[in-house]
Amino acid sequence: MGVNRFVIKQISVFSENKPGRLAAIARALQEEQINILAFSIAEADGFGVVRALVDSPQKAHEKLTKMGFNVAFTDVIAVQMKDEPGGLYEIAKILGQGGINIEYAYAYSGKEGAVLILRVDNVEAAIAAVRKGGAKLLESSLFQ
């Protein structure tokens, strides 16, 4: 166990790049009363991947799959940042020094500070580095 409680299941959804697709995904989540905590869209030529942290990933996965979407779970980690100048630097420095490569990241700034969501090449090493560097990781129990 140990590090596993920091591994968060992000849902990733394949979407064509055309009007109404995001609305279709968002509406499905609304229908299931699923709350989106953070999300981003990665765009490529003609298609995109919608990535989201939601409060019940399993339910979201089932609903979207049933609707015919291509859905996958991706392991990410979420690190708390100080919501002030230098907050991102502090976290990025820890990861850089730990030799952790960031594949992609997105962030949100909520009531209790800012959170950086990271997809990294080595999740376990990243968790160890972040903890060693003294930063705080969000637990996956927030997203079930």
Binding site: F14, E16, R51, G68, N70, V71, E103, R119
Partner: protein
């Protein structure tokens, strides 16, 4: 299992078969010269008389008939039987233009039914089988043709026709269908719908045979259907002009046997119209040797294939035509290069990351033709990483470029978003304005 429906004909030595074909051709030419104003005129224009036909090979002296001849003579001006002698009409779907009308005498229907009886027995069906006919019933020849052929061999027919796929699957299960006759794309659709209903065709039904045709499909698609659904898939061939579906593969799956007493097939070079040797791909030209109401001589059916004349391991001597690999008129010309949708299907079947459905959109950007192929990303292949998805697209583009010799753009679309077809698949949208 019955060896053959009519072994005397089906296993006739090739030499005797050719003699029979010559006799039938000679009779046919005299009959048309005497009774068809249309063909009489065409023979005079070509300066050929029935007396000039002295060997089977002399068929090459005879003028061709074209699809447009059928349209120009709409509805029945090519018939040489009077209406009182007709027992049925069928009207073609008109996917390549105006509809064409085909009339049948009693004997025409009998020959059609016998042709299918031989075909169905050759792929292992017979008494005790339940054959679900999921071709359209009505003006289209598929439904009624297979229906009477299946009844003739003593099988039980389940005449579901097309549409209402969920009900088709329920009936398939409840009545224990052992075979289905439909288009290959519709069978794929049935497989997908069944899975959504929580039914495995392989495990939860008795289906073991698919009689698939009415649209071109590839050997890879056959493998995919067989592996996925756990059935044997056989290619059946025919068009309404010939009567309807007529010829089917035997259990050897080495191309469909063309019954030589009913039809004579030539494979010609698409440029020179010279006959090609067995094994070489060219334009298929068909002569229907026994049709009464609407005979066809050297009919340019528009399909591209090759022929094999060696005796089949199943014991049948009648030549085998390989699966249709393209159509003369489906052929797209992209920047001067001939492209057949079947080539694209073939290429996609070798890439498991994309589904079996596709759509081709042709447009003109400036002076250049632009071909876009849309494919669905398979659920198992979906990755959160954009680079992986771009990789799939690159792979498909690369494969298509290699097979087609022309660059194409590929677009990844959501699963289930491309149109499914219950009849003939229309996979090409040509937006070029020329």
């Amino acid at each position: 299992m019955t060896r053959a429906w009519d072994p005397r004909i089906e296993e006739m030595p090739l030499e005797n078969l050719k003699k029979l074909q010559y006799t039938l051709l000679k009779t046919l030419v005299y009959r048309l010269y005497s009774f068809s104003a249309f063909y009489h005129r065409r023979m005079e224009e070509a300066k050929v008389h029935p007396d000039d036909i002295r060997t089977l090979e002399d068929i090459q002296k005879l003028p061709f008939m074209y699809k447009r001849d059928l349209r120009d003579n709409y509805p029945d001006k090519l018939f040489i039987a009077s209406q009182e002698d007709l027992v049925r009409y069928h009207v073609s779907s008109g996917t390549t233009g105006k509809p064409t009308v085909v009339g049948y005498t009693e004997r025409d229907l009998e020959n059609w039914t016998v042709s299918l009886a031989r075909a169905l027995v050759s792929c292992g069906l017979g008494r005790g089988d339940v054959i679900q006919v999921s071709y359209g019933y009505g003006l289209f020849t598929g439904g009624l043709g297979l229906h009477y052929g299946a009844e003739r061999i003593g099988a039980t027919v389940l005449p579901t026709s097309v549409g209402n796929t969920e009900r088709q699957i329920e009936l398939m299960q409840d009545l224990g269908a052992t075979a289905i006759a439909c288009t290959p794309s519709y069978l794929l659709h049935i497989g997908e719908v069944a899975e959504k209903m929580g039914i495995s065709i392989r495990k939860d039904t008795k289906l073991k045979t698919g009689i698939l045709g009415a649209e071109p499909w590839s050997e890879n698609m056959r493998q995919r259907i067989q592996d996925w659904l756990g059935i044997k898939a056989y290619d059946i061939y025919g068009t309404s002009e010939l009567s309807g579906p007529m010829f089917c593969e035997c259990t050897e799956q080495r191309g469909f046997h063309v019954w030589g007493d009913l039809a004579y097939v030539e494979i010609l070079d698409t440029q020179t119209q010279e006959p090609l040797p067995p094994g070489e791909r060219g334009e298929m030209v068909i002569t229907m040797l026994q049709k009464e109401a609407m005979p066809l001589i050297r009919y340019r059916i528009g399909d591209i294939s090759s022929i094999e004349e060696d005796v089949c391991p199943c014991g049948r001597t009648h030549p085998r035509v390989q699966r249709i690999t393209g159509r003369v008129d489906d052929m797209l010309i992209i920047r001067g290069i001939n492209v057949f949708p079947s080539q694209i299907e073939y290429a996609l079947m070798t890439i498991p990351e994309v589904g079996q459905h596709f759509q081709i959109i042709v447009d003109r950007k400036g002076a250049l033709d632009d071909m876009l192929v849309q494919v669905e990303v398979a659920q198992e292949a979906f990755s959160d990483k954009i680079t992986d998805l771009m990789g799939i697209r690159k792979k498909v583009e690369h494969k298509l470029r290699n097979i087609l010799n022309v660059g194409v753009n590929v677009e990844l679309v959501e699963p289930g978003s491309l149109p499914r077809f219950e009849g003939k698949a229309k996979r090409v949208i040509d937006r070029r304005k020329i």
